[in-house]
Symmetry: C2
Subunit: 199 residues, 2 copies
């Protein structure tokens, strides 16, 4: 534990969630992972439900920071970077175990208002980022002026959600839809006369 | 119970699943719904796991029959009918409670081989149906000859999966992406010079 024990506990909770899944996760697992006592975890986070809610808030901050990173290049590169980030090969990234744990968390959402609103916030952040990139692209002439940023963002968020669900539930590789959605971007979003390759 | 008690039990299991969710579902719930004894259910289906596996197989048959229905019209109407079927307004169809229960079932998939392979079979049936419709459309000149039926089907299945996940987890209306995916179909799939409206 370093001098930010509350944040250390959240990081440990993340690793313990990936290892044990949500239903089986105990405060003891988190304590073991953080190399501390369950007493200290209760001191900072009170209950498993509260710890988990704070973990989701922490992950939300990290996720939105990642989404907001501004790579070199224009809107088309931004879109390609976003799709790379969100549809990366699950076998070679640490995201897979997390997504599996999140399947369990998703199953809690209909009956747990706190989880439901946090999942909706992730979704909304992603939607807004896609919409921003599409808007900027239409404005800059990189995407066709007939592209509706809201409709395009809705489709892209839904694709990302579906890719994660299929990957976590039965190993469908997200790269397969990565290729499809890149073709979609090239064929549908890109303004006629642009010669740049989207990805 | 009519003269096909085994099928009646599956139909009752479906209704009980929608009412109680997967984790809380008991043989007693199914017996109450079927207006029969748990003894008879055990006689036909042995265990909850086996009953549920048979239920998924039964739903799979029903789903593939629905998918295979051949509406009037050409490939574009077929695609529109499929999207209507899969992305119908959740508030006015019985699908919502079932999808919520399926969130729980999805969460079992990573650790339950039988569930995982059945979910993969649903996914594969949907993929093949989309691919068939896209292929037929390219062949008939209704869709652009550059459309790759595999890539298009991958995108469409992923969109449908994502729409159901977002709807079940936090009430995102599937009609929103229905509109987006219809625009995608119009802009990307439809051959130049075709004047027919896809949806």
């Amino acid at each position: 534990m370093d001098d930010e024990p509350a944040t250390e506990i959240l990081e440990a909770a993340y690793r313990a969630l990936c290892d044990h899944g949500y239903a089986d996760l105990t405060m003891q697992d988190v304590a073991a992972e953080a190399d501390t006592s369950t007493g200290l975890i209760h001191y900072y986070y009170d209950s498993k439900a509260n710890l988990f809610s704070e973990l989701l808030a922490h992950l939300y901050d990290r996720f939105t920071t990642e989404l907001r990173s501004e790579p070199e290049g224009g809107p088309r590169e931004h879109l390609a970077v976003l799709l790379d980030l969100l549809l990366a090969d699950s076998e070679t990234t640490p995201g897979r175990e997390f997504r599996t744990a999140m399947l369990e968390v998703n199953a809690q959402a209909p009956s747990d208002e706190a989880i439901r609103s946090q999942l909706a916030a992730f979704d909304q952040a992603l939607f807004e980022r896609f919409r921003e990139v599409l808007s900027a692209g239409v404005e800059a002439g990189a995407f066709d002026e007939r592209v509706d940023p809201d409709a395009g963002a809705e489709l892209l968020v839904t694709v990302v959600t579906g890719a994660h669900a299929r990957n976590a539930a039965f190993d469908r590789a997200p790269e397969r839809v990565h290729e499809s959605v890149t073709r979609y971007a090239e064929a549908y979003l890109v303004a006629d006369g642009s010669t740049e390759v989207a990805h």
